[in-house]
């Protein structure tokens, strides 16, 4: 059993983010285009990691709503890069349990004739190991 | 040579100068030495040929203290040293009448000997009026020849150029003798492993007999009193100072002339043990060029010296361990 503490360490390591730098200004959440889709909001990610409450984080829908648009990374005044934290949590989940967000069986029904390869490739990178 | 004598005599005669600083023949055909000439008759043994490697700039420190002007013959590389001394207020420009003499590369007798030419009686082909392509050597064992180039001092292969940096008039023409990379040997050593480097310098410096020839000939080592001869750095026991001096002499000397050394190569030329002392000075020059931009001591009297200037963005000393 991996403890929350260990998981938090892993997330910090994978993301290269120091959550202690956060001053809780909320600019990430202000700037996030997926904000309304997220159950845990971008600015809260830092607290979850600091509180070592990684289980909740990994159950979060937010992992799959982040667009990696880097708006929060670009605008963060404290150089915390919440987007990287989210991605690290997502990776931790995929790596540890093979819990993919997308299964190959689902793909055909999602397709339409115009879908660019890039979309499939990106989605696979994000949603699966 | 005759032009030099003629011009020197004219300048003495019209009172422009009161003495001439040049070279006179030595006891062997290849060891002329610096000398003063004041009367017409003195010029009988005046020479200027391929063996006149000696840099006369440093003698101008003493000459600057004498009455009247001194005529001094300076080769292109010597003028860098003169300029450097001028920058350091060690010589007086008004006390010198500088004739920039041409140079076709100076010769290294050790190299001739190393070519297997022994028992030397006389050497021809080393005059500046000669083509300076071939040397003809009369020896006890008959006539031998060698290419002029093969007998040249190391420093002439990496000559700074045939331009005189300071002069009142020019006589004779020079030849460009550069055919090697000045920093090649330094770069080679830099590429060695620490053990190899240490072994190399151990072998070379192990030969040192502390004769001080390098220090005495060096135009940058012009201190009235060398730090090694003063008690300013002693800790009151002379014995300790001696051992410190013994052990650190060449590094400290190189550091003391860093940024001031013109790379005239006299230290290596005069070393009786054949230690390539210029490799220390050139290492500093190479580093200075790389770290702080190209700098040639003695080129420009008004330029800021690298160790008495700085930029805010200078590299940190840790560069030594991080550079590849």
């Amino acid at each position: 059993m991996i403890t929350g503490k260990k998981q938090a360490e892993l997330i910090k390591e994978i993301s290269g983010v120091n959550p202690l730098k956060c001053m809780k200004c909320g600019k990430c959440s202000a700037t996030c285009p997926s904000y309304n889709e997220m159950d845990i909001k971008p600015h809260q990610f830092v607290s979850y990691v600091l509180n070592e409450d990684i289980e909740a984080l990994m159950q979060s829908e937010s992992l799959w709503k982040c667009l990696s648009c880097f708006a929060c990374v670009e605008r963060c005044p404290r150089d915390v890069k919440p987007g990287k934290l989210i991605d690290a949590a997502r990776q931790l989940l995929i790596r540890q349990r093979g819990q993919e967000y997308l299964s190959p069986d689902e793909v055909p029904e999602l397709l339409d004739p115009e879908i660019p390869q890039q979309l499939l490739v990106s989605a696979f990178r994000r949603y699966r190991r | 040579m005759q032009e030099l004598i003629k011009r020197a005599k004219e300048l003495l005669a019209d009172g422009t100068v009161v003495r001439v600083l040049g070279w006179k023949a030595g006891d062997l055909p290849y060891n002329p030495e610096p000398a003063y000439f004041a009367k017409d008759t003195d010029f009988a043994d005046f020479v200027y040929n391929g063996f006149c490697g000696a840099n006369l700039s440093k003698y101008m420190i003493e000459a600057s203290k004498m009455e009247g002007k001194t005529l001094v013959f300076l080769k292109p590389c010597d003028t860098y040293s003169f300029n450097q001394l001028l920058k350091e207020h060690r010589v007086e420009r008004e006390k010198a009448y500088i004739i920039g003499v041409g140079c076709k590369g100076k010769l290294d007798i050790e190299k001739i000997k190393a070519l297997g030419i022994k028992g030397i009686q006389s050497i021809s082909g080393a005059e500046l009026t000669d083509e300076a392509e071939t040397l003809t050597v009369q020896t006890l064992y008959g006539e031998k020849t060698c290419a002029y180039k093969d007998a040249m001092l190391e420093r002439c292969h990496v000559c700074k150029g045939k331009e005189h940096k300071i002069y009142d008039e020019l006589l004779l023409t020079s030849r460009d003798t550069t055919d090697a990379d000045r920093f090649a040997e330094v770069a080679r050593i830099e590429g060695l492993s620490p053990e190899e480097k240490f072994a190399f310098f151990q072998k070379e410096l192990g030969k040192c007999i502390r004769c001080n020839a390098c220090r005495n000939v060096c135009p940058a080592c012009s201190c009235r009193k060398c730090v090694f001869d003063s008690n300013k750095f002693d800790s009151s026991q002379k014995a300790n100072a001696d051992s410190f001096e013994e052990k650190m002499f060449h590094i400290i000397r190189a550091f003391h002339v860093a940024g001031r050394c013109t790379d005239c190569g006299e230290c290596s030329r005069v070393c009786p043990q054949g230690i390539p002392l210029h490799l220390f000075n050139r290492k500093f020059i190479k580093d200075i060029d790389e770290f702080y931009g190209e700098y040639q001591a003695g080129e420009d009297v008004d330029a800021d010296a690298p160790l008495t200037s700085f930029t805010f963005e200078d590299v940190e000393p840790s560069v030594v361990s991080t550079r590849s």
Partner: protein
């Protein structure tokens, strides 16, 4: 002038236009795009995890090949550009990634970020020059009000991509001016279109694209240009205020008078 060229997966299939117009325009402008041999897909998104190596290798291979040829590496697709530029930055500045990637690759001379990665637009701006481009335009798009859509990948993170001011970019506007059009600046040109999320959350990306479209048309744009096949796809799915969306290379080819040639071929 020759550049190494990395087309990427989509430009050889769904976004052939973007590629073909780009190559034809390059020729007209006097530079050549030399497709690198055996390129592999960049993966579409940059792997953020600092411990991921395998997903970065395809980029390193492309970068390495360009270095061996002594050429800059040009990309057209925003996503490839983003991924390759960031991997290059890692190889240059992140010792851990550099060491591990090189250990894996076993190259003769380790790769350490020597290659210059340029987006086609950067070539136009910094190498060709927009003033030179302007002179070579034969069919200026006079009077066309064009909104540039940058999206996220070209601009962010601003420090690494060093492409343009990430919050107030100008390169595409300058491009539009150079081909004779009239740029329309609107605030949502650097907000996200939804990216890969459109695979599963179609409504979300639609609403984002609607905002972008509304903003652009509200400021008077008659069409949008983009450099990214995915942006194009998503924007075309927008329902409200639908404006036509083009690859910037298509308009470039048109302005340079080489579009028909391509279309015929």
């Amino acid at each position: 002038m020759k550049y190494s060229y990395y087309p990427g997966c989509t430009l050889t299939t769904k976004a052939k236009d973007l590629d073909a117009y780009g190559r034809a325009s390059a020729q007209a402008l006097g530079f050549e795009l030399e497709e690198i041999a055996d390129w592999q897909c960049c993966g579409g998104v940059y792997p953020l995890g600092s411990d991921e190596i395998a997903t970065k290798l395809s980029s390193v291979r492309a970068l390495h090949e360009a270095r061996e040829k002594g050429q800059d590496l040009v990309t057209l697709c925003s996503a490839c550009h983003h991924v390759i530029k960031r991997v290059n930055d890692d190889m240059k500045n992140v010792e851990d990634i550099r060491t591990r990637a090189n250990n894996y690759m076993q190259l003769e001379k380790p790769y350490a970020g020597e290659t210059n990665v340029l987006h086609f637009l950067e070539v136009l701006r910094d190498r060709v020059g927009f003033d030179v481009l302007k002179e070579k335009v034969v069919n200026p798009l006079t009077g066309k009000k064009i909104g540039a859509y940058y999206g996220c990948l070209l601009l962010r993170p601003g420090k690494i991509l060093a492409f343009d001011n990430p919050e107030n970019p100008a390169i595409m506007e300058d491009f539009i001016r150079a081909i004779g059009g009239e740029p329309v600046v609107y605030p949502y040109r650097n907000e996200c279109c939804g990216g890969y999320i459109s695979l599963k959350e179609k409504e979300l990306s639609k609403s984002m694209c609607d905002t972008i479209m509304e903003s652009a048309s509200g400021f008077g744009a008659e069409m949008l240009i983009t450099a990214c096949p995915l942006c194009l796809y998503n924007l075309n799915k927008s329902v409200e205020e639908k404006l036509p969306v083009y690859y910037f290379t298509e308009l470039l080819a048109e302005a340079l008078g080489v579009k028909e040639e391509v279309d015929r071929a």
